[in-house]
Symmetry: none
Subunit: 262 residues, 2 copies
């Protein structure tokens, strides 16, 4: 390991927390994000289909965080970016038609800190500068976080939003080390590992096909059924055994249908 | 008063709080500061001898906060910028040889909020991008504020520092005006009524009989299946529509079974 790498290992306070930027338009915002991250002790940057990357502008704006920019992982889908994550939080500027479990930045920082401290992978997802995250992307998240603003102007610059949320993660970490082992992590109190994002996505695919099979769900006339079910199951973070139980139940329904003559 | 001016009066949440930038080098940072301020409900920007101002770059980076940039007051000394202030807080990156009363960002936000609410003028002073505030400037401040960072990289971008400190002012304001029962607010934010206990019990009975029907659940060998499912669904705290959806799904499974010949 080189000296630089060694340094990075020591100063990477939250190695299990990834910042995910989706389809970023301005490379300057990627650089600003990298600097904000490194200032707060984060290094893991994942870029989903950035418009322009690599970019000199991103390096320039990152100032002394060029290592974070250069170490960024570029992927082509949000699913890929979230692989292995057990907690996914999406940034959402607007009120949605179907409310989702919401966090304030401070409670977001606390949740992220506790979850990564319990050894789990966490992602915070930031959308496009102009349009944020799409509904189907927001529905892949367990929680949404919104940064409160004044009424006149509610849209924060992307890098600024990263700065506020990563600041709150470091704040939570400082508060926790101050109080030392006061609250033994709630995540540790659970008896099973949480399901990963990919396991959950497989479950949702299986659920939807089974809903179609029993005739309950008509994909031609979806009436927000899958949205409501996703919201419901994402409200809790299902553990591995729960997902296995539900998939076993779905499979038993599939067999029922298979045995039925046409 | 024009309509624009009227709007600004209404959305200027902290008219007695001024953000003071000393000898800013990059006009982009002035624009970023203006946007950060307006996002958090602040409008009063004072520039001490900026290197390049007015500037197109500042307007561009401010996005929809051009009014804050254009309304900025340009002065030639920090004394002038602080005229009439009863609380002055200076941002300080480094440990100083002579310790000064220090604030954390959160306590800074609370102090600023309380002081302006008491009708007093407040200034937060930000130094040069490369060198911060000089000792004689820092000594004009009642308090210093430092934004905690990771060890590897402690120097925040100027606009980011403004964002964090103004965010904490708005947070203090929200906490002060909105200490009413948080739990009841969470409940009010949901779009459906929560399901009653009896509706849930009917659901669990229906779920169990259907699990038996598909052959997934053997009541003679229950293996904590219903316990785990109850724990899971109780964690979700289902709303009425969610229970209705799941019961509809169970009924569609029951019909499948009914059609199947023995």
């Amino acid at each position: 390991m080189s000296e630089t790498e060694q340094n990075q290992v020591e100063s990477n306070l939250f190695p299990r927390v990834r910042i995910v930027l989706v389809e970023t338009t301005h490379p300057g915002n990627i650089g600003a994000t990298a600097r904000a991250m490194k200032n707060m002790g984060l290094y893991k940057l994942v870029l989903v289909s950035p418009h322009l990357f690599p970019s000199e502008k991103a390096i320039w704006r990152s100032a002394s965080a060029a290592d974070v920019v250069e170490g960024a992982q570029v992927v082509s889908s949000l699913e890929e970016a979230l692989e292995g994550c057990q907690l996914v939080i999406g940034t959402s500027a607007r009120e949605r038609r179907i409310p989702w479990p919401m966090l304030e930045p401070k409670s977001c920082g606390e949740k992220v800190f506790k979850t990564q401290a319990a050894g789990k992978e966490v992602a915070i997802v930031f959308g496009r500068e102009a349009h944020g995250l799409k509904n189907e992307e927001l529905q892949m998240c367990h929680f949404h976080v919104n940064i409160p603003t004044g009424k006149a102007y509610s849209s924060l610059n992307l890098g600024m939003a990263v700065q506020v949320l990563t600041y709150e993660i470091l704040q939570a970490s400082i508060a926790a080390t101050d109080q030392s082992d006061q609250a033994s992590q709630e995540d540790d109190a659970w008896d099973m590992d949480y399901a990963t994002s990919d396991a959950l996505e497989h479950f949702f695919v299986h659920l939807e096909s089974t809903l179609v099979e029993t005739g309950f769900h008509d994909p031609e006339n979806p009436r927000q059924l899958m949205t409501r079910l996703r919201r419901m199951f994402n409200r809790i973070r299902m553990d591995e055994m729960e997902v296995n139980i539900l998939r076993g139940f779905l499979t038993s329904i599939n067999h029922l249908k298979a045995k039925k003559p046409e």
